[in-house]
Point group: D2
Chain length 409, copies 4
Amino acid sequence: EKPQTMAKGLKTQYVKDPIKFMGLEDLIPMSLNTKRMQLREILDRDVAPLLPEFIEKAQFPREVLGKIKGLFGLSEAKYGCRQVTPREKSIILYELARVDTSLATFYALTMSLVIYTIEALGSEEQKAKYLPGLCNLDLIGCWGLTEPDFGSDASGLQTTATPVDGGFILNGSKRWIGNAIISDIMVIWAKNTKTNKIEGFVIPSKTPGIHVKNIDRKLGLRMVQNGVITLIDVKVPITTRLEKATNFANGVKVVLEHSRVSIAWIATGMLSGVYEASVKHLRERIQFGVPIGAFQLNQEKLVRVLGHFHSCFLLAWRITELQEQGKATSGQAGLVKAITSLIGRDAVRLGREMLGGDGILIDNYVMKALADMEIVYTYEGTYDINALVAGEAITGISAFKSSYSLRKK
Amino acid sequence: EKPQTMAKGLKTQYVKDPIKFMGLEDLIPMSLNTKRMQLREILDRDVAPLLPEFIEKAQFPREVLGKIKGLFGLSEAKYGCRQVTPREKSIILYELARVDTSLATFYALTMSLVIYTIEALGSEEQKAKYLPGLCNLDLIGCWGLTEPDFGSDASGLQTTATPVDGGFILNGSKRWIGNAIISDIMVIWAKNTKTNKIEGFVIPSKTPGIHVKNIDRKLGLRMVQNGVITLIDVKVPITTRLEKATNFANGVKVVLEHSRVSIAWIATGMLSGVYEASVKHLRERIQFGVPIGAFQLNQEKLVRVLGHFHSCFLLAWRITELQEQGKATSGQAGLVKAITSLIGRDAVRLGREMLGGDGILIDNYVMKALADMEIVYTYEGTYDINALVAGEAITGISAFKSSYSLRKK
Amino acid sequence: EKPQTMAKGLKTQYVKDPIKFMGLEDLIPMSLNTKRMQLREILDRDVAPLLPEFIEKAQFPREVLGKIKGLFGLSEAKYGCRQVTPREKSIILYELARVDTSLATFYALTMSLVIYTIEALGSEEQKAKYLPGLCNLDLIGCWGLTEPDFGSDASGLQTTATPVDGGFILNGSKRWIGNAIISDIMVIWAKNTKTNKIEGFVIPSKTPGIHVKNIDRKLGLRMVQNGVITLIDVKVPITTRLEKATNFANGVKVVLEHSRVSIAWIATGMLSGVYEASVKHLRERIQFGVPIGAFQLNQEKLVRVLGHFHSCFLLAWRITELQEQGKATSGQAGLVKAITSLIGRDAVRLGREMLGGDGILIDNYVMKALADMEIVYTYEGTYDINALVAGEAITGISAFKSSYSLRKK
Amino acid sequence: EKPQTMAKGLKTQYVKDPIKFMGLEDLIPMSLNTKRMQLREILDRDVAPLLPEFIEKAQFPREVLGKIKGLFGLSEAKYGCRQVTPREKSIILYELARVDTSLATFYALTMSLVIYTIEALGSEEQKAKYLPGLCNLDLIGCWGLTEPDFGSDASGLQTTATPVDGGFILNGSKRWIGNAIISDIMVIWAKNTKTNKIEGFVIPSKTPGIHVKNIDRKLGLRMVQNGVITLIDVKVPITTRLEKATNFANGVKVVLEHSRVSIAWIATGMLSGVYEASVKHLRERIQFGVPIGAFQLNQEKLVRVLGHFHSCFLLAWRITELQEQGKATSGQAGLVKAITSLIGRDAVRLGREMLGGDGILIDNYVMKALADMEIVYTYEGTYDINALVAGEAITGISAFKSSYSLRKK
Ligand SMILES: Cc1cc2nc3c(=O)[nH]c(=O)nc-3n(C[C@H](O)[C@H](O)[C@H](O)COP(=O)(O)OP(=O)(O)OC[C@H]3O[C@@H](n4cnc5c(N)ncnc54)[C@H](O)[C@@H]3O)c2cc1C
Ligand SMILES: Cc1cc2nc3c(=O)[nH]c(=O)nc-3n(C[C@H](O)[C@H](O)[C@H](O)COP(=O)(O)OP(=O)(O)OC[C@H]3O[C@@H](n4cnc5c(N)ncnc54)[C@H](O)[C@@H]3O)c2cc1C
Ligand SMILES: Cc1cc2nc3c(=O)[nH]c(=O)nc-3n(C[C@H](O)[C@H](O)[C@H](O)COP(=O)(O)OP(=O)(O)OC[C@H]3O[C@@H](n4cnc5c(N)ncnc54)[C@H](O)[C@@H]3O)c2cc1C
Ligand SMILES: Cc1cc2nc3c(=O)[nH]c(=O)nc-3n(C[C@H](O)[C@H](O)[C@H](O)COP(=O)(O)OP(=O)(O)OC[C@H]3O[C@@H](n4cnc5c(N)ncnc54)[C@H](O)[C@@H]3O)c2cc1C
């Protein structure tokens, strides 16, 4: 299709990159910002153009992993892995999501769920064994918490770990697990039948008794391969247990509090992508003889996208600063995850509509962002669950449970 | 995956079908209502289960056409075709969309664009030649108005029809045309280079000089095949001209005013589908020991979906009554198309989130409805364009144009 | 302040009255429609201009009662009172609210709470004694259900009716009671200490032991006088008891189900007022050299107001039809009350902003509508409570209660 | 009315002050934060309780001025006035608005419009003459830009300043001018009939030819006295001219860019007030046997309020930092003013509804915040105008004008 020519007399000055409008770049340490721009160049040039076909076909883009290899690491340099600070991780997620949510999700999953779990809760032996491979992508991990019957209510999970001589027998089923089918190792959360506590295990995906089935026909996050894992009498040695994850609060909760911040950065990066696609379209697309950015209805929408972008960025930035200071809490992570996905969802919708018909093609970013944002809204605890997490923190009242079943008894 | 058992003690009485809650069925003539329920049975049993795979693969479900063959017809019984009144057409669209938006779009496209154009604007000869085939699906038609550079501004289209001896030469390009690649005949709108009026032509898709390319990687309405049609020196006889479409107002506008009502019914049918999927899920899915419908946050969302459903249904019904009386106007059609897609969009979003992770699978209706609703919002004139159509009707002031280009001159 | 002159060249044709845009008038029986227009004339000419000063001063406009005297009546002509059908009552509420919400509330309170309670639940003696006076406004009534500590949870009310020789002793406190301070008679709901059922009483406001204090500084519905009623050892004869109100379900609930429909009509009438004020302003107010209706941002807002108006009207109309057929249910009334106040609230906000600075003056309708709509949203059960009423009806699951207190025990 | 007792077993720990939830206090320099808490104490104790009566009566609370006298100053200490940095001004506005919007508006009007105009654009003589009195509230100023026919289109204003011997003759009319009737001096913007530029004048309110009439019956910002100023042949000496305000861009625009940031802080402070009133109510108000904060619907609303609060605070903080660095632009101010008032409006609505019936009384903060927010949304440029200001900055395309009038010529 022939490209439209730029409208005559259009000012060349405009805000292409939303991070520049209010100098948000200045919040990012200079050297990190330089790295950011290098990463952006690679993603724009070598990665982005390849993705639409994988998305259409719902395939994992193994081919592009090489391009993002250097981005992984630990909270401190060790085991031959480099250090990635909360700030750096945030910025990487931002840049990845600006290009594609599945890609950013792969990074978050690997860094904030799998690697972080092992680094924060694992034994020295586990760390030495798995972290190097995970950091250079020789190993792919997955993280199994939710089950067919326990999603929002993850802490009620039913997978069991029965202590036996020299180890445990795992039985149960996990659902929605990202990377499951392509994973080399799995983090599996299960209820210790003896202590009744929820504990974690890192185990090779090939362990006998483990069966994985892919979940097909997702209409968002199409490149991420989510699967159902069935564990039937899976015998694992005692060394697979995550030793610091002695219960839900010391285990799963610690990780989620950490990784929910990553999701906020994904939402923020997506809004950057949406803004950029929109402002470009508003300037280049001509209807009724003018660039469509000249129509008030479009212009007001773009401003709202930019405003929402700023809210997301600043919220995510604030909690990252608190993380750097070791002060971030679960309630804060809940608020930030909830709000960024809430207003993020509003923003992608606006971007989608500004592109008109063009806005429904995978290639033009906004529609895939709209579809992917539904999952950002839902995973790592839905909007509602995260709102209730924050709500409990601020009111002192827990509102997760219903009186319904109680009344029935 | 093992099914959850129904929560114990759950009341068996609930509102499964939203049309029954406030007796909206009573607005539908009894015999039509009976037909409706027969159609529903066929769709639920024979059609719905087949679709997810076609949607995943973005293929046209030619296999199911047989099931919906009897639904087509004309505004009066003639040329061997049965009569389909505005009311009946509405109800059919409602039932089709309740199952799938692509399917309903195929019906609307065929009935309200192709067949209606020929019936309302064509010559006797054209009617006799094409209507029977279109009505029994021996012929598939497409309807080409918008162009790469003229979408919202369709009346500015640039495809030309140059009068020559015995006919016309068509040149230009059409974009987004549904069915293009599978069509037997095409309605093509073009500017007569002599009169400068926009006129219509019905031509065989195989006419030399016509080239069709499919538009790939749509993330909504995936079963509908939209294409770009390029017309290079396409010679067509004078008999292909739609004789009553003497200009934009007598041609395109007449058809759009008519077909926008169909889109409102599609949105309404979709909300029925969304409500049904949601209420079912709220009763069957158990989290925290209760059916998730026991959570206030979910229950309030379901009520909003039901409220929006009623608004859509009643708005669409009202304009259909006006159509039956021959009183419907372009401004009304603009309002109804705009508002049903606006609140429809809000409703699908709610349905989507109530299903949590399950709500992202093609098979569970809500996510495909969410994606498809983006197109319902955009095609046949975007929300904004239809709002401005209604806006002009109610204020007496046209606000489509911008002062931008004018100031530049 | 000097009036602006009408923009030159402005089309004289536009939609001034939203009820005409889609022929909604045709739904109203002809003779009722004629009455409606007569009422409108009186209200516009003799009532509307007097109100702003009463609103500013938060005073009851006793002076205007004479103008609306003829509007009251019973569901059937009896006791010297005329008949007012559900349809007629709806239309009267619509016209009153179009001018002012306090006025319409006074009508709803009198007709749908006080008169309806007595007519539906009272003894022959009570009817004969009070209905004629209430219908011709010789008597002003109030209706006391909610209490300082029991608002949404009205069925938990604590006012007691202790059976004593020849009657009852009432003790307790009622809050928010409209008309309390100007009332001649009161309907009081109280818990029979013997049966533990909630029963109703009609008593003279002057009965010893009754104390009324006005609630000051309301920022909405300023003309309605709401009060706190304190009942200290109020002795009332047995004949004051409403004989058919044997418990909550047969008493309060019957009335609320009925009167919530009235609130939906108030919301609808308000949107008519908002639309009219807005369209007028958009045509008359000139900025940047044009009527501000020429700006897309304004025009789209007006269209949304009109769309919401139609949704409200049609929803309210539908349930009124069901009332006429004796088929309306509590769940339907909950849905209609909830949704009309929800979208009504959105619409008044839009009207308010279209008037810019002018839109904050009491005299220009939209700001008082915005403030009043907050109360429409809240009284007769808040939005949330009505949504949960509808929610229970459609899911079969009650979600009013919280598990909180239960867990504490 | 008797107070409810605190629900038994309610955790004492909760987030009372939203600024503490994510450590936003840490962004404020320590000494400034200490001052802030002192101011808060005074306002809560000595000011807040007095206001409801003034608001009800729509009177200016001259009595409380003494309490806030020390808060005024200049951008640098001079003329005997203390320095107030952008950060300090922001924090003062925040604390004032947390208590009352009219109060905060009085401060913004005095500091960011009147004092700032004179300090930034006036002559040494004007500064020495007026600033000391304005800073210690011996003089009250007003700032007159908008006119009956020029609100959003302020740059088109029609008040004229005709150069005459030794000065100017001012003629015209100003509308909505805050403080007009109580002012000692006025800043008046007028078009120099010779240069056709918009220039400013500082003149005593008692100058012959000046007439002021109050605008009555505002339903928001009731304590602020807005007036219409009529200037009939008002002769002023040349020394009244603001010498640096040589045209709109060097005058009005400079001031608005500065003062719009103040409005963002007002919105932010209001959200603090709304959050505090809401969380208190959710914990103390009991319905259905539990604190109403235990209901999911309420809790989710409170979380949204808190999220919006954070977005507003961080946006306002970011632009204040840019102001401190002298880098803030008009486009940024437009975005921040627009977005904070947009989401602020959403938040007050939520606070309002959480208080149920109590939420309509002036005394309970939320309803007056809801009413006042309408004006925050509208003054200093409506939301739409500020969005278009930002929109032009980011797209490079101006969309203020309509093609309507142009087409008519
Ligand atoms: C694409 C994708 C990738 C994922 N990746 C992983 C992964 O790698 N590893 C992993 O362990 N999990 C993963 N998940 C699971 C994810 O965390 C859950 O889907 C999510 O927590 C929601 O659970 P659910 O889907 O079971 O929804 P449900 O819990 O069934 O929720 C349905 C609806 O009910 C609402 N609801 C539920 N409980 C309450 C309540 N108490 N109060 C109010 N409302 C309530 C929810 O908000 C939602 O709207 C993934 C999910 C998706 C969709
Ligand atoms: C799936 C699909 C199927 C379709 N099927 C057909 C078909 O079968 N036959 C056919 O002829 N066409 C078809 N269309 C085309 C459809 O009608 C157009 O996509 C639609 O009218 C919008 O045009 P556009 O995509 O060019 O968007 P644009 O016109 O480029 O609009 C882009 C954005 O600018 C806004 N905008 C444009 N002009 C104005 C204005 N004056 N004021 C304010 N905002 C404005 C729009 O609202 C939109 O948000 C189809 C489109 C889709 C996506
Ligand atoms: C102007 C006005 C006039 C009135 N006139 C009358 C009258 O004439 N006669 C009369 O009897 N009454 C009258 N009322 C009372 C009115 O019916 C109540 O105000 C209303 O039902 C709400 O109760 P509340 O104010 O106690 O709010 P609350 O019950 O305290 O509610 C506070 C908030 O909590 C929410 N909430 C409460 N319970 C739940 C729950 N279970 N789940 C989720 N959310 C919940 C509410 O939705 C609300 O947002 C009037 C009220 C007003 C404001
Ligand atoms: C309480 C209050 C205090 C005030 N104090 C002062 C003061 O002290 N000094 C002072 O000088 N002024 C003051 N103002 C004036 C204020 O700045 C104006 O009210 C405001 O700029 C809006 O102008 P308007 O009221 O004339 O609305 P209008 O300009 O008439 O706007 C009406 C509607 O049209 C929209 N609109 C207008 N133009 C366009 C356009 N080009 N495109 C799209 N939409 C458009 C607006 O957004 C609005 O929705 C005050 C106003 C109020 C209400």
